[in-house]
Amino acid sequence: MNEQMNGKVSKEHDGTRTFRVEMLTRVEGEGRFHLEVKDGQVRKAILHIFEPPRFFEGFLVGRSLFEVPDITARICGICPVTYQMSSTRALEAILGITPSTGIRKLRRLMYCAEWIESHALHIFLLHAPDFLGYASALEMARDHRGLVETALRMKKVGNSLLEAIGARAIHPVSVRVGGFTKPPSPRRLQALLPELEWGLEAAQETVTITNSLPMPEFQQPYVFVALDGGADYPLEWGEQIAVSGRDPVPLGEFEKVFIEEQVDRSPAFHCRLPDGTPYLTGPMARLNLFADRLHPRAQEALERTGLTLPVLNPYRSIVVRAVELVHAFAEAVDLVREYTPPEPPYFEAPLRAGEGFGATEAPRGLQYQRYRVNDAGIVQEARIVPPTSQNQPRIEADLAGLGPELLAMSQEEATLRCEQLIRAYDPCISCATHFLKLDIREVED
């Protein structure tokens, strides 16, 4: 790999060392970072997002609540199900609809499929090349073809499951407020069982592989935040948010506790706790808070790794993600085996005015939405908090924490170490920019 690639710039004068990458690669969306260390002290640690804003919270206003899941899906092409699920949850709360167990299970299955697709993509195609010293998975495939083929096959299983339920994997079309327009036939899902079972074994293997990767040593004092899914591992449903070392937060209090503010220099928002502490959401947070709720197969996998909880090394999130991949496959196998189509496929209720909240766990972390609608079901206000805007202050804090160690390294090694750290968060940069605060009273004619 050469210094030219990727616009890396190095500077050293008056004792200041600067590490930066002008175009972050192998992440969703466009961003750059900049880290400045002087006399062993970190002076600047910035993850800058230069995705253009798309104003979702603005144009959701005035739309019918039934259109919302098709709109919010378009926030992210990697985790559209996340956005659809949080939307339907919030809007159903407004209408007083409680989806049946059958609908919730099918949603959970769909969400497992998205985790499979996204985790397989991230572990092998985006993150593993850092550990093994390649610029891309395609390059990695020259030496490790079997590995990349396995990754692609796992990813495909996730996508096939999404297609079976949602007609397509990216921006599925069968999800609606109240349930599904049409649930898949049991035969269609059962046809996928052999591949899902294969995937479960491949995911176990993935845990072993990721656990044997050379792992940089690094630890930070994290506050972990994840959806509390009751008896279930955090995924598509939960009434409150767990925060390590602090009281749980009911969904309706989200915006009081996780304070979002626009960052200088970019169209992205950052979230912090009220005392200014950054927090971490995503696989490491979920595992550290709720390891006891993992599927037994995933618990076994976790034990095999020898990891002790809490995991505090962000580079190790690749192993945690692999454990979650086992979980997603194992749950999907169970859910497909016991599947019968929900009847009725969706619930309806008379329109009414109100406010509702929904939060679910995207592959990369907690995703929260709030809507206020009028009595005709027209959105008056929308608030969407993506995982990456919550993790961004934490990423910057990690980079700052990493600073002193980098001084002993070559420029290239140090820069790579930073990138590898940022990728550990699986940041979804498009998501992080699409949001804006809106006071509807000023906008209405």
Partner: protein, 292 residues
């Protein structure tokens, strides 16, 4: 690979710019594979978008490694850290709409460095869902909604790439169809024209034998005016099409709107139905304006 009846890539050439004309000479005929001893060179670029259309490329799980062998990937930030932004590219896939000031210059550069430029998806071909802002006043909007508007740089409108440079082919859809993408890449590799079909989704439904959701359930469906490319996915799960592949050429949107009103939709609903994922595509834009 053989052409599927579902392909409906569209050839477009709306804008002729000096940069665009210069481009053709810079590029290399992809059929002359070994002119420089190399494989055709690919660039994948992103403007305002959700990455879903690039995601479709990454979701070609069975073909991805073969594609990586057949093409030299010079620029694809979401997949690789090797970035050779300067090109030149035999094939540029462009996702996303032109939406921020810096995009104006970037797209010219990409055009100038690319032999064949293909726009992928509703964002790149119509401005995408973020073009809903084109129907309001962005300036007021940004200043009212962002606590620190000075850091927000956005153009007043989100527009299709073809509004700015010459586009050789476009793939519709939000997201694009995998089959269409593979057909297009294959055709370009073989130096033939991609199979293009300009048929309505409605016709597609009839061919696949799907029950018409309007006839059977009285549901509004944009199928008669929408380009088929997805394979009629929405009717296949019992709902009407919401037009994510954009208007079919020569679509009679006025008759469609009349039908929707007859089905009991309000004027506002009809306007919003056209003003959606591909709402800034000309035919849909004009129809929605008729229901202000």
């Amino acid at each position: 690979m053989t052409a599927s009846p579902l392909y409906s890539g569209t050839q477009v050439s709306r804008v002729e710019t000096p940069a665009a004309q210069g481009a053709t000479e810079l590029g290399v005929d992809p059929t002359e594979k070994d002119a420089r001893g190399g494989r055709p060179r690919l660039g994948v670029f992103k403007f305002a978008s959700c990455s879903g259309c690039q995601g479709v490329l990454l979701s070609c799980e069975d073909e991805l490694l073969a594609l990586a062998d057949a093409l030299e990937i010079l620029y694809f930030p979401e997949a690789s850290s090797h970035l050779q932004e300067e090109g030149p590219f035999d094939l540029a896939l462009v996702e996303g709409s032109i939406s921020a000031p810096e995009h104006l210059e970037q797209i010219q550069k990409i055009r100038a460095r690319s032999k064949t430029l293909v726009t992928i998806g509703a964002c790149a071909t119509s401005g995408g869902i973020q073009a809903l802002r084109n129907f309001g006043n962005l300036d007021d909007f940004v200043h009212r909604v962002y606590p620190r508007p000075e850091f927000i740089a956005a153009l007043a409108t989100s527009t299709a790439v073809a509004e700015h440079v010459k586009v050789d082919y476009e793939l519709r859809g939000c997201p694009i169809s995998k089959r269409q993408l593979l057909e297009l890449i294959t055709a370009i590799l073989l130096g033939r024209r991609p199979e293009i079909r300009n048929e309505s989704l409605c016709l597609g439904c009839k061919r696949y034998g799907y029950v018409c959701v309007t006839v059977a359930h009285g549901l509004p469906c944009l199928g008669p005016v929408t380009m088929n490319g997805c394979g009629a996915l929405c009717p296949s799960v019992g709902r009407g099409c919401y037009g994510c592949f954009g208007p079919k050429e020569g679509a009679n949107t006025e008759a469609m709107a009349q039908r929707m009103l007859q089905l009991g939709m309000s004027k506002d609903d009809v306007r919003n139905a056209f003003r959606f994922i591909t709402g800034y595509a000309q035919a849909f834009r004009e129809e929605s304006a008729r229901h202000e």
